[in-house]
Amino acid sequence: MLVFDALLAGALIWLAWQATHTPGLFRSVISFIVFGLLMALAWVRLEAPDIALAEAAIGAGATGALLLSALGRLAVTHEAGTPWQERPDLYFWIPAGAALLGLLTLAAWALPTPGLGDDVRRVLPDSGVANPVTAVLLNIRAFDTLLEIGVLLLATIAIWSLGRMPMPSAPAVRSPALTALGRVLFPMFVLVSAYLLWRGSHAPGGAFPAGAVVGAGGILSILAGAQPWLTGGVRGPWRILLSLGFATMLAVAWGVMALGQPFFAYPPGLAGLIVLVLELAAGLSIAMSLVALYLAGQPPDHWGPEAARR
């Protein structure tokens, strides 16, 4: 397997270089998407299936779609500048980079990596779930997750505050196969996502990949020509749904205080249920947020023909 690791590492480095340094924006974006794909393999090799799942759903799927559609919306895709080979600042960068790399490697060499594996294992029975990663995410370090869901909501608000969504300059290709794809696949997305959510309590899975899968399904349906149901105005439930995960987490964090518990401390016995509720709400909001992020701006109040033509 050492050969596998070395090969993977080599490919990742090459792809990262392609993504950041070689001319041709499209080539870079594709390189980055493949980079995400191979990162999923790296996570597997590092025994982190949860992250592999998230990377497959978010990294390879959603980020790829975000990048590609942004690339399509850019007015200018040509690049200026001298080829990097001719840049004089390389005389600074090569030694500096080598020094940084050397320091990092030396430091990594010296790390004893104590880790908290034992501690997590010890408290796992109290956390209400059997998957340690889910336990850490939604119970032990739930405040991190609260802020993280907050970041998703905040990103949506930030993007909406930039203005109306920029319409793609050309409509998506009309193809009967594509429409069919949207119709056939969307139930599949929901199904797989429900399965991941259910698995999350005892095996890799949970709200994040599940939400990301549904979100990706939503993006795919939009691309397949489905009328996006997400509207921008305050009418309709969308703002509530977008903030549902965040609001639920906040409500739980405070709600337990009514039961005499400290902030965010789940009452014993209820932990499993609370985690499940949080996962459902968070998953829903993650899915909605990904679609909203993909639209890259505030959607129109009504998706009429005039909105599509604009």
Binding site: V120, N139, I140, L153, A158, A253, W254, F263, F264
Partner: protein, 479 residues
């Protein structure tokens, strides 16, 4: 009697709740924000009072003790900054509400910014601080971009600098976690040894924070972002967001990284601080726009705050430490006042070019008054907070025999005085006719005036401040 622990929960929960409400029901935004501001002022005062009475404390979130769980810590430093945030946040909100600009999504973003700041001032967990930093950065970027047009490139630069800073910070966190298996500040402080991984980790964390704090020579993104953002946003960014990065730097340096202190880093930080003070001051001197002048002054004033690192060791440490904190507080109040006043003036005149502004006259009396008072605090005229801070810092420096830093502080003060006088020289010009539709009159400038008064009066609160900050001096954590 309300537990101070629940007040702390309120400080983080309330703005986040408000952010949701103002997003879902924009109609009620002003009312919700007002309620949040009132609640936060009360909670922050309560927390500060609790610290004064009983000293600082730390609390675990979710009943999980570190190293597994996330902790919060409250001490004089964090309490005073929480209070500053509540004051500046409320004043900014009031200014905005009076201004009557109806931009969609301003309020949720503002409240997110506020909540992230509070979470930062409370956090005692390296990774949790990272997430809070990201929330802060995203909210700030969106708020800057609200000015549209020329603010977009500024927002972009800010976003990139901020993301780079937090990623570098996270790399440092990863190293420290690999070394000590803990993310909690207190646990790392207890275990720290000066070896390569710790030094590299701490170095990366400091580098990331220096970038976020726009410390010279990493300040390239700050002036345009602060100068072009909407007025209230400039105020919050200059008074609070930069202070948050400074706070984190100081908190970490005197807390977990205390084992790495030595003459080398001390001199490095001191020189950076001096450089920021002089360079920022010189550039502020040559600016042509009022808001840009104030923005560059932030770079310069931050240099004073950074001098705490070489000064707060050895003899006179406690005095220098107190002085630096008070200086940052006074700067926050004064700078927010300056920006709000400048915003009112710019609105009245329709521009903020220094050479074309008219003097104090009908319609712009209050803003100019606020500008004068806040400027006095910035220079450090007694009895302002700026005076008290510099006084304490100089005392500390003299006690330690740090003549270089004494000279640096005096030189920096001189520069500050020069650029503040350049700004204020406009006052004595003949009053220019203000277009009647300008609307920058009394109500909009009232928050600026209050802030300036507070900055000026802060020096009178010396005994209170001394008491508040004495419990946790230098330990970086609850005693």
């Amino acid at each position: 009697m309300i537990q101070p622990e629940s007040l702390v929960v309120l400080l983080v929960g309330l703005p986040l709740l408000g952010a949701i409400l103002t997003f879902v029901y924009p109609r009620a935004a002003t009312a919700v924000t007002a309620a949040c501001a009132a609640g936060m002022l009360g909670a922050a005062s309560g927390v500060a009072y609790a610290v004064m009475v009983g000293g600082g404390w730390s609390q675990d979130l979710g009943g999980w003790a570190p190293p597994l769980g996330i902790g919060w810590q409250v001490d004089g430093l964090s309490a005073s900054l929480l209070l500053l945030t509540a004051i500046v946040g409320s004043a900014g909100a009031a200014h905005r509400a009076v201004e009557g600009l109806d931009q969609p999504f301003f309020w949720p973003l503002w409240l997110f910014l506020w909540g992230a700041l509070n979470a930062l001032f409370l956090g005692a967990d390296l990774f949790n601080l990272y997430v809070a930093l990201e929330v802060l950065a995203l909210a700030a970027v969106a708020l800057i971009a609200m000015a549209g047009g020329g603010a977009l490139p500024a927002a972009w630069r800010y976003l990139l600098a901020s993301l780079l800073g937090s990623t570098v910070y996270l790399m440092g966190v990863a190293l420290l976690y690999g070394r000590y298996g803990a993310l909690d500040l207190g646990l790392i402080a207890g275990a720290l040894e000066p070896d390569l991984p710790s030094a590299l980790g701490a170095g990366l964390i400091c580098l990331g924070l220096l970038l976020k704090a726009a410390v010279f020579p990493l300040h390239f993104w700050l002036p345009s972002a602060h100068g072009r953002a909407p007025t209230v946003v400039s105020a919050a960014l200059s008074a609070l967001v930069v202070a948050a990065a400074w706070y984190l730097l100081v908190r970490l340096w005197f807390g977990p990284f205390a084992g790495l202190q030595g003459p080398g880093p001390d001199w490095l930080f001191g020189l950076i601080g001096t450089g920021a003070m002089l360079w920022g001051g010189l550039l502020a001197l040559v600016q042509r726009r009022l808001k840009m002048l104030i923005a560059y002054s932030t770079v310069s004033q931050l240099g004073f705050g950074l001098l705490v690192i070489p000064l707060a060791v050895g003899a006179g440490a406690e005095s220098a430490w107190r002085g630096a904190v008070v200086l940052v507080l006074a700067h926050g109040l004064a700078k927010a006042g300056l920006f709000l006043a400048a915003g009112s003036i710019a609105r009245a005149h329709g521009h903020d070019r220094l050479d074309a502004l008219g003097g104090m006259g009908a319609g712009v009396v209050l803003p100019w008054l606020a500008l004068v008072l806040a400027g006095a605090s910035l220079i450090g005229l007694p009895p302002s907070g700026g005076f008290l801070g510099k006084w304490w810092m100089l005392q500390g420096a003299l006690a330690a025999g740090g003549w270089v830093w004494v000279a640096a502080i005096l030189l920096g003060t001189l520069l500050t005085a020069v650029y503040v006088f350049r700004m204020l020289s406009v006052v004595i010009r003949p009053a220019a006719p203000v277009p009647p539709a300008g609307g920058g009159g009394l109500p909009g400038a009232l928050p600026a005036f209050v802030l300036a008064l507070l900055a000026l009066g802060l020096g009178l609160a010396a005994p209170v401040l001394e008491h508040l900050l004495s419990g946790d001096a230098m330990t970086g954590g609850p005693a």
